[in-house]
Amino acid sequence: MSITAAAPAISIPAPVAGKGYWRLVGERLARDKVTLVVAAILLAVILVAIFAPLITAHDPYVGRVANRLKPIGTPNHWLGTDEVGRDLWTRLAYGSRLTLLTGVTPVIVATLIGATLGIVAGIGGRVVNTLVMRTMDVFYAFPSVLLAIAICGVLGSGVRNMILSLTIVFIPPVVRVSESVTTQVRSLDFVEAARATGASLAMVIRHQVIANVLSPILVYATSLVSLSIILAAGLSFLGLGVAPPNAEWGSMLNALRQSIYVNPVNAALPGLVILITSMAFNLMSDGLRSAMDVRLPR
């Protein structure tokens, strides 16, 4: 037998590295019913956020006090009205914009920064690792809510400051997760085998480490979105995030709190959508995890 004897005569399709993997993940996701439902919910929330002016009939900032706290099912206000008579459906639809913005933006920024830092810490030597990780431990010493409140308090309220403070809060956990998966992957034999071929460190990191580190980080980031939504709502509830006239689920919950004895259903509505959306992100993260782990049997 010689090497060429058994060579196939067919032309070999050159698969782009990684593409096959993502197609596989897509196929697995498509078979996961829970994740599909959850994805549909998230898509709906995103669509509502984008098309809020088209699907609502009222002004989110103008209400008639005579109409206040109408129950669900009131003609013209199918989800009722809030404590100053504004249409709740309109408020919730517009509110999803701010909620998504404050839920997703900090996570994206924190993931970009945190993953970079974590991978560098995981691959770099002991000094780099200690430097990065101990700095993160300082942030870790504070409970995340308190840290967010403290930063927000220092910077002052407002959407931009809230996003900034949430970003700072989320960087340390992302760094931790990325660092731990990187050190884990780095010590596996296939990285050594890649090094043994004489490939440069950059090449080994790009082709062997990153691909294996990215999906756990991505999964973790998705789960952070739900936390971010809740924290953002919490900050707004405390009056540190979105200022009152603006529609945001957390601040709406805060404003409706006083009406809980008059019309508990209306008062709970913003909380309910927060719950559904954050749970959807959480379940999405679960679904992604099992879909991305190609090793798991179905």
């Binding site: 060579a7 590295a17 490939a199 082709h207």
Partner: protein, 365 residues
């Protein structure tokens, strides 16, 4: 082992274009290889050190298979990783086909890795779970600047060569393969670099017996066809005997015996080698093991025994064994069999040592 000096080369030009030293030049000479792993200790105290490999010297002849055996933790795998420069040795020189590795005049580690490849024990963790088989095999060549399509084509050829149909396996992922198939992929990956020396670190240990036999036969075929030299690391004495031309026996980071496989298996000299070989179970009731097997574990490599490291478990240990480290020396003139034991060193002071300063071939009891 004395590395043979540079002999005038009697080159056969057709054999191997990269051959530099000629057939008499060992492909690999290792001298005084040492690796101590420092552990964490209290500040301002001497940090404890694991003496994983401590002064290992041997040579690998061109075209042979050198087996390395020993208990787990004796430094076999560390030696392999040191040879590949996956971890940096603390001391020692490595000479590949007459060229020292590293230094100003020597070949670089990168060049060394082109000619020397390794097959890992764990066939699963040694393959990137996110990559397709063809890409895994092609990676090394692409990293060395080869065109990606070409490298993949070659990966397909290699798959066929190791007995995996390319059209079935090239696009698969490691987790979709069985252990034996994965190990074949590992072999194909090593071969992709066109190595002259392949380090097989427990390459078949994780496979079941029937698959193991197939892979061993594949390795033998490849060696023949591709003109390879193997370093075959295993704890399985039978497999080592089947595969190897010469065998190195390691104990606690040192070589205790080295020799031609048949001579060493038939007449082991070092008490440790004897104990190892007597522990191999046989199915023949007439060849029942009479001697008690070795008891206990090897001592902690953090604080290895002084002198001969085997003395704590050796039935023949005497005072001299604790005082002086036996030197690995040939047991006779022109015999390719060396042992590091005071019982074989003339005038060592051991009661069983030959008295005269002339080496004796008399088997020590």
């Amino acid at each position: 082992m004395k590395p043979s000096a540079d002999l005038p080369s009697t080159k056969s030009p057709a054999a191997e274009p990269r051959d530099r030293g000629g057939p008499a030049q060992p492909l690999l000479i290792v001298e005084g290889l040492r690796k101590h792993f420092p552990l964490k200790g209290l500040p301002f105290t001497r940090r404890p050190v694991v003496q994983a490999v401590d002064g290992v010297s041997f040579a690998v002849k061109k075209g042979e298979t050198l087996g390395i055996v020993g208990e787990s933790g004796c430094g076999k795998s560390t030696t392999a990783r040191l040879l590949m420069h996956l971890i940096e040795p603390d001391a020692g020189t490595i000479v590949f086909d007459g060229d020292p590795v590293g230094g100003l005049r020597g070949i670089s580690v990168r060049d060394l890795r082109r000619q020397m490849q390794m097959v890992f024990q764990d066939s699963y963790s040694s393959l990137n779970p996110r990559a397709q088989i063809a890409d895994i095999i092609a990676f090394g060549q692409i990293a060395h600047g080869r065109d990606a399509t070409e490298a993949r084509e070659r990966a397909h050829d290699l798959l066929a060569r190791v007995g995996l149909a390319p059209h079935l396996f090239a696009r698969r992922y490691p987790h979709e393969l069985s252990g034996g198939q994965r190990q074949r992929v590992n072999i194909a990956r090593a071969l992709a670099m066109d190595p002259r020396l392949v380090l097989l670190d427990e390459a078949v240990s994780a496979l079941d017996k029937s698959v193991e036999a197939q892979v061993l036969n594949l390795l033998q075929d490849l060696k023949q066809d591709l003109n390879l030299t193997y370093i075959f690391i295993s704890h399985d004495l039978n497999v080592v005997r089947y595969m190897s031309d010469r065998v190195v026996v390691m104990y606690l980071g040192r070589i205790v015996e080295i020799g031609e496989v048949e001579a060493l298996y038939r007449q082991p000299r070092h008490p440790y080698t004897r104990a190892l070989l007597s522990a191999v179970p046989t199915l023949d009731p007439r060849r029942r093991t009479e001697a008690p097997p070795l008891t206990g574990d090897p001592p902690n490599p953090i604080n290895p025994p002084s002198g001969c490291r085997f003395r704590t478990r050796c039935p023949f240990a005497e005072g001299v064994c604790a005082d002086r480290t036996p030197i690995l020396a040939a047991i006779g003139e022109g015999v390719d069999h060396a042992v590091a034991c005071h019982m074989d060193t003339a005038g060592s002071g051991h009661s069983k040592a030959p008295a005269a300063p002339v080496s004796s071939l008399e088997a020590a009891e």
